[in-house]
């Protein structure tokens, strides 16, 4: 058995991946009923302010606002605040064309999404503040479903961000669709251990008081939706996750815009994880000792394990069985086990999401290739971050 230092590191990392996936599975099994439970919608009908930051969204803003106004919610308890972040197109005109008193437009100079959100929050009158992207669309009952999660200790609730389906979706869009479904499920499980680490920009709800407690969105942060979630967690407030409050969003259709998006996510994520690394501490419970610890480890872990799995696959000669057997080492068996467990986990997540109509080939490609591809992007993004390379938008 090869016990070189590199191999030993690979074995350790592979064990950690196994440990993480097994932990998630056990969290699921322990909370199986709760994961599926939808809280009964109560009489909790607070005033709600939707804050929609918009920069050059003339093509999508109308549909976004209409989806909000269409919500199954008392009309007099809903307002929509669109913060026009210095758009150069007809975003402002489109918003003004909506003849509904509940819709307000704030024009400001371009200063970024986070600053726009803060401006909107300042103007908002609602007890619950909902952040919504200008190219995202909610379902009629999404708001009610989210509000049902606001017990007295809940500071924020995340939604189920799904990829908007359209005709002739690209292969890349279909894979992202899978990824988003998987993320919804994982986030629900993290909520079981008070470990939700991001309140997605497309659609999240906050108690207004939380902004007084922890402050508004960080205008200097490129992943402001993650940063505020980590800040809320660091202040020991609860974030819930609703798997049924659906919001549809558009995703990059081609590789180059996909890479740009992922670079921003990973670089922002890396900065946030470093900023909140102090929460890797028993006093932050499962959030610190599992979620944050694994976020930090995952940067190294995923790269090493991906390389081990890729090396194992490339070294083996699968076309001829007897040659394949000549190359088999324990690391290859473990790679296959890790792959099989990842596949099983993905299938389980999709079953829980009631999305079993996904074609098997997408499932296989997602597990065997896509996961490693986004790991590669993570590696590149972090490398650029460490190099201090300028972020492209």
């Amino acid at each position: 058995m090869d016990l070189s230092p590199t191999r030993i590191i690979e074995y350790i990392m592979m064990f950690l991946v196994l440990f993480f996936t097994t932990t998630m599975l056990l969290i699921y099994l322990k909370n199986r009923q709760k994961v599926r439970e939808i809280p009964k919608t109560t009489r909790f009908e607070p005033t709600v302010s939707f804050v929609i930051p918009a920069y050059n969204e003339e093509n999508t803003i109308l549909e976004t606002i209409k989806s909000v106004l269409n919500s199954d919610y008392p009309k007099n308890k809903l307002e929509v605040i669109v913060v026009n972040d210095g758009s150069k197109d007809k975003t402002a005109e489109v918003v003004k064309s909506i003849k509904d008193k509940r819709v307000r437009l704030i024009n400001k100079q371009n200063s970024g999404k986070a600053d726009s959100l803060n401006r909107g929050i300042k103007e908002a009158k609602g007890e619950i503040i909902v952040t919504l992207d200008a190219d995202s669309y909610i379902e009629k009952d999404s708001l009610r479903k989210m509000l049902a999660y606001f017990k007295e200790d809940v500071a924020a609730v995340t939604s189920a961000v799904k990829v908007r389906e359209r005709e002739n979706m690209t292969f890349l869009e279909k894979l992202q669709r899978l990824e988003y479904l998987f993320t919804i499920f994982n986030r629900r499980l993290f909520a079981m251990i008070n470990g939700v680490y991001v309140t997605p920009g497309p659609f999240s709800a906050f108690r207004r008081e939380i902004f007084d407690e922890v402050g508004g969105f960080d205008p200097n942060n490129i992943m402001e939706d993650q940063e505020i979630a980590l800040r809320i967690q660091a202040a020991n407030y609860k974030i819930e996750s609703c798997m049924d409050a659906v919001v549809y969003t558009d995703v990059p259709k081609d590789f180059s815009s996909f890479m740009r998006q992922r670079e921003r996510w990973h670089r922002g994520g890396f900065r946030n994880i470093l900023k909140y690394r102090y929460t890797v501490n028993p006093k932050y419970g499962d959030f610190g000792m599992f979620v944050m610890l694994y976020s930090i480890l995952s940067i190294v872990l995923l790269v090493v394990v991906s390389m081990a799995v890729a090396t194992a696959v490339s070294k083996g000669n699968f076309l001829v069985l007897d040659k394949f057997l000549l190359t088999v080492e324990p690391i290859h068996i473990l790679s296959v086990i890790v792959l099989a467990i990842t596949l099983f986990w993905t299938v389980l997540a999709l079953k829980e999401m009631k999305e079993s109509r996904i074609r098997k080939r997408y499932l296989l490609i997602y597990t065997l290739l896509y996961c490693y591809l986004i790991t590669l992007f993570m590696f590149i993004a972090i490398f650029k971050e460490l190099k201090g390379e300028k972020q492209r938008w």
């Binding site: 440990f19 610190g288 190359t327 088999v328 080492e329």
Partner: protein, 214 residues
């Protein structure tokens, strides 16, 4: 309204269970991998043993009276065994490249090679054929030119009627020590090629090698 903070806890029971389960799966994976490695090595050694037994049987024919009457049969059988031995050697080389060397298998294989060499040498004497026999000494740990020389030898082998027997001196076996002693091989000057009991050191081009064979 005043937001309530949550009381943090660590789900030790989940992490402990996950650790135990992961350890079991991990151990099973390692065990299974080692079992496959062991089975493949055993099968390889069995094949080496089988060919060795066949060579031993053939060598009995060379002890009989009028042994030259068996030349055709001996040459045919030796060609067949050589193909098997060569194929086995390629597999060992492939395995070494992909997952590292197995010294025990290599040592057994080199013993097989030597038996084949000695039998071929005897048959060459008895039957007077023109086959060339080369002993090629390398060190897989430290020999800059060995791989390059190996490619030249392979090319020559395919163009001429030559059998090549490779011995890796990185393996400290009785056999290797005996060969080093017999041919007075200087391990510091590898690669070394033995043709017709004469030792040649250093890199040899294709034409030069072919000229030494004739």
């Amino acid at each position: 309204m005043v937001l309530k903070k949550i009381e943090r806890k660590i789900s030790w029971n989940i992490y402990l269970a996950a650790f135990i389960i992961s350890l079991v799966i991990f151990s099973v994976g390692i065990w299974f991998g080692l079992q496959i490695e062991k089975t493949v090595s055993e099968q390889m050694n069995e094949r080496i043993q089988a060919i060795g037994n066949k060579l031993a049987t053939l060598s009995v024919l060379t002890l009989l009276e009028n042994e030259s009457e068996y030349c055709e049969y001996l040459n045919n059988e030796l060609s067949k065994f050589w193909e098997e031995t060569y194929e086995l050697g390629k597999q060992i080389e492939f395995m070494e490249e992909k997952r590292g060397a197995d010294d025990y298998i290599k040592a057994n294989y080199m013993e097989l090679e030597l038996r084949d060499y000695l039998l071929n040498k005897k048959v060459k004497q008895i039957c007077g054929d023109t086959r060339n026999l080369i002993l090629y000494f390398v060190n897989s740990d430290e020999c800059r030119l060995c791989r390059q020389q190996g490619e030249i030898i392979t090319s020559v082998r395919m163009k001429t009627n030559t059998k090549v027997y490779t011995f890796d001196l990185a393996i400290n076996s009785t056999l290797n020590r005996a060969l080093i002693s017999k041919y007075r091989i200087d391990s510091g000057r590898l690669p070394a090629i033995v043709i017709n009991e004469k030792v040649y050191y250093g890199f040899m081009g294709e034409n030069e090698l072919i000229s030494k064979l004739s």
